[in-house]
């Protein structure tokens, strides 16, 4: 049992707009942290700039609300320098994937042991409503009055492309789903990307409409669980099967299809092909995948750095500055 409650992680009064998805996420994160049970003083929450990046201000942990886009790089240094800390990196879709896209992919590639939260509202909230790198093609915003003429990033694709080993998704208003994902992210040793579908009530209301309510999720989402068959629908009447190189939605009981014919989720599978297909599913033809989509063990950068230091310490004969000096060609002047 954890000795902490959500209250131990709470601080101050959040200033987000009423109804903003960030409120819901914050509450779930605090509950998850309490359940995880790591002390607030051993926890660092590091964000960039954006509405979502205000989050560390409401946490009773150590934290930094830094500069736009650099949260992943700053969190990297924090974890590598002090591996005992539990590091949570929080970014919006602009912070994490536009200005900070480079750091996002490299943190994944290096596999820094930290939890990378991406609050995806598909908009720049703080700067009052410009399209973001996750806004769909044709999206009309203040900076795209005639619709965008570019395709969005799909965060899972970027994460997988960068050799990410953990990817999960939750809807901000779905407390149990979010808490589960946060706990799984913390349990995963390595970079854990969690895409949180978050609504911006002011500038992009309804962007995640189909899955934002519990009823919507029943119809339009599938909760993936490792080792469990892929079943979804209001009455659990649908399932997912593989067809050729792709996936297809089937109705259980129709055409002789039973639960046994359905795909069983394997989050630990090294090969990410099917996991990516699951992550990219979207309505109306497919349910949106929620939960832990990929969770594969791999060596982490920070562990490797520590191990290498220990290894070299054992091999080299100099262990302080004065000894270092004597490894050089020296001469005496008498």
């Amino acid at each position: 049992m954890s000795e902490y409650t959500a209250k131990d992680f709470k601080k101050g009064q959040p200033r987000w707009c009423p109804g903003c998805g960030d409120h819901f996420f914050l509450a779930s994160l605090q509950k998850a942290m309490a359940e995880i049970g790591i002390a607030p003083y051993d926890t660092a929450v590091i964000s960039g700039i954006g509405c979502s990046s205000r989050l560390p201000h409401y946490m009773a942990t150590y934290g930094m609300n830094t500069i736009h886009g650099r949260a992943a790089a700053i969190a990297t240094g924090c974890k590598v320098a002090n591996p005992n800390l539990t590091v949570w990196q929080v970014s919006g879709d602009g912070d994490g994937l536009a200005i900070g896209g480079n750091h996002f992919i490299h943190a994944n590639r290096r596999n820094i042991d930290m939890n990378m939260i991406l609050l995806n509202n598909r908009i720049y909230g703080l700067t009052k409503g410009q399209y973001s790198p996750t806004s769909p093609r044709g999206f009309v915003s203040k900076s795209s009055p005639y619709g965008t003429v570019e395709d969005p990033f799909r965060p899972a694709e970027l994460c997988f492309g960068a050799r990410g080993h953990f990817f999960a998704r939750a809807v901000a208003t779905d407390a149990p789903g979010t808490i589960e994902v946060m706990k799984a992210a913390q349990a995963h040793r390595g970079a854990s990307v969690c895409e949180i579908l978050q609504n911006c009530v002011i500038f992009n209301e309804g962007t995640h409409e189909s899955v934002y309510s519990a009823e919507g999720r029943k119809k339009n989402a599938i909760y993936l669980q490792h080792g469990k068959p892929m079943i979804f629908g209001e009455n659990n009447e649908f399932g997912l099967m593989q067809e050729g190189f792709g996936l297809k939605v089937v109705k259980i009981g129709e055409n002789g299809i039973t639960e046994k014919d359905l795909l069983v989720h394997d989050a630990h599978c090294e090969d990410n092909t099917l996991q990516l297909k699951l992550a990219l599913m979207e309505g109306p033809d497919f349910p949106v995948a929620l939960g832990v989509i990929r969770d594969v063990e791999a060596p982490t950068y920070n562990d490797a750095v520590e191990a290498q230091i220990e290894d070299v310490k054992g091999k080299k004969k100099y262990h302080n500055f004065q000894e270092l000096l004597m490894t050089n060609d020296t001469w005496e002047v008498k």
């Binding site: 590091i46 830094t66 790089a73 230091i309 002047v333």
Partner: protein
Amino acid sequence: MTKNASVVDLDQVVVRFSGDSGDGMQLAGNIFSTISATVGNDICTFPDYPADIRAPQGSLTGVSGFQVHIGADKVFTPGDKCDVLVAMNPAALKTQYKFCKPTAAIIIDTDCFQEADLKKADFKTLNAIEEMGIKNDVIAAPITQMVKDCLADSGMDNKAILKCRNMFALGLVCWLFNRDLTVAANMLKEKFAKKPGVAESNIKVIQAGYDYGHNTHSSVSHTYTVDTKGVKDKGTFMDINGNKATAYGLIAAAEKAGLKLYLGSYPITPATDVLHELAKHKSLGVTTVQCEDEIAGCASAIGASFAGALACTSTSGPGISLKSEAMNLAVIMELPLVVLDVQRGGPATGLPTKSEQTDLLQCLFGRNGESPIPVITATSPTDCFDSAYMACKMALEHMTPVVLMTDAFIANGSAAWKLPKLEDYPAINPPYVTPEMKETWAPYQRNAEGSRYWAIPGTEGFTHILGGLEKDNKTGDISTNPENHDLMTHLRQEKINKIQVPDVEVMGDADNAELLIVGFGGTFGHLHAAMDEMRAAGKKVALAHFKYINPLPKNTASVLKKYKKVVVAEQNLGQFAGWLRMKVDNFAPYQFNEVKGQPFAVSEMVTAFTEIYNK
């Protein structure tokens, strides 16, 4: 041939080794300077790398040079021009002859002055010496052939044999200066400890070069000695370049402060060797992260600093441009951070391998908002150690980013360095929070120096948030209060203004100089040499060389105002002069500005300063 050449005793001599970038001139030069240092000479070296590292073999742009100045007494620069030039091929002769004094002796490898070689260096005739109108003594030796003969039985292949040509030239130079070869042999044995065969071959070739000189006394009328004079500084020494000294300074400071050293960096000439050096020293617990870009280098260092490490980020001018936003984050969060700028020629990609002092204003001001950052400029290769140490101490004790500026010239140049003792260096005491402060502490509470306290994550009772948004003075909560912002702007500035730095020393005719030379950073050696030359000519001249740029030493105004004439000499268009004018009322100096990417030429400065002196 003069069989009985006399031995002439010199006070100082400059030797320049040059050849194709694959000819091993840096190694030959290094060994020669170490041999000289070992007998107690002072040394100052300057490697002049080719501008084009992928230049075709034998071409004019692929020439690599290494100049060493050795002195019976103190030497301050690698010397303007050389007394001996080694030119291993026609391209070297053509491009390096301009560094020769009229009296210089030139050593060439005649085997590499054949038709094809001459063509590669754009010679029109078959006699390079005549074509260039060279009247100097030339030792024309068939070096390649002699090396081949010498190693015929070594079992080495032709390519490996040719790699030893540099050692023959070195042997010849050692003969010319009556140098003992034992030191060279020991250095090679150590360098090639894993390949004793290679060491042996190299030693054999050095000896052959030496003997060749001895037996033929070819074309020179004298050999030389440079005997150590003056008071010898006793102790243990090594040869060190500026980048290595910087890395060592960071290591020493981390050890003294009892902190882990973290470097976040992205490779860039001429700063990369600091990353290389630190990456080696894992056994000292040094953590280096080669980041995805300079922004991440700085950002990750800030993360490391927050987490309780001595955090540094190293780069050159273009990288500073990328880091500036993150540097400001360290300003407002008031976290310790050392930012190293090894300056190179700019703007943009500019002259990557060349040296200038053009980043000063960028480092002082190149950020948004009021952004006070201390700036320290190292004055010589060995001073990089002290400057790096002091930059760390300042950053840690005053909870601020500090910019440490060096330049390509001192970063690559080397000098003899007396091994320091860490116990002789001042203690480093960051303002850590103490357990007693738990109840009352607030993140922006300040000590008497105006610094925030350092509460490191993992410490119970001190959880807090820092950030890039303006903070309330004390609580650290986000604040847009106009009075608070004004106060914080002043507090951040005053904290830097209050930092104690040593007074600037006036050297030379401090009491009665007619002309005060003023400089900063890596030009110290050249300015000192210029002053020495003018004083030797009977002029009353002094030098005030600045290492601490922000804040300036307390005695700055009084020093600058004391002398009738002041000339500020710098390798930019007047950035330091402008900074001084901003800080010292009614200061109107003469200026000497040159931005050639090359070290100052002492002779040119003496001419220019003398003109000012006589005005």
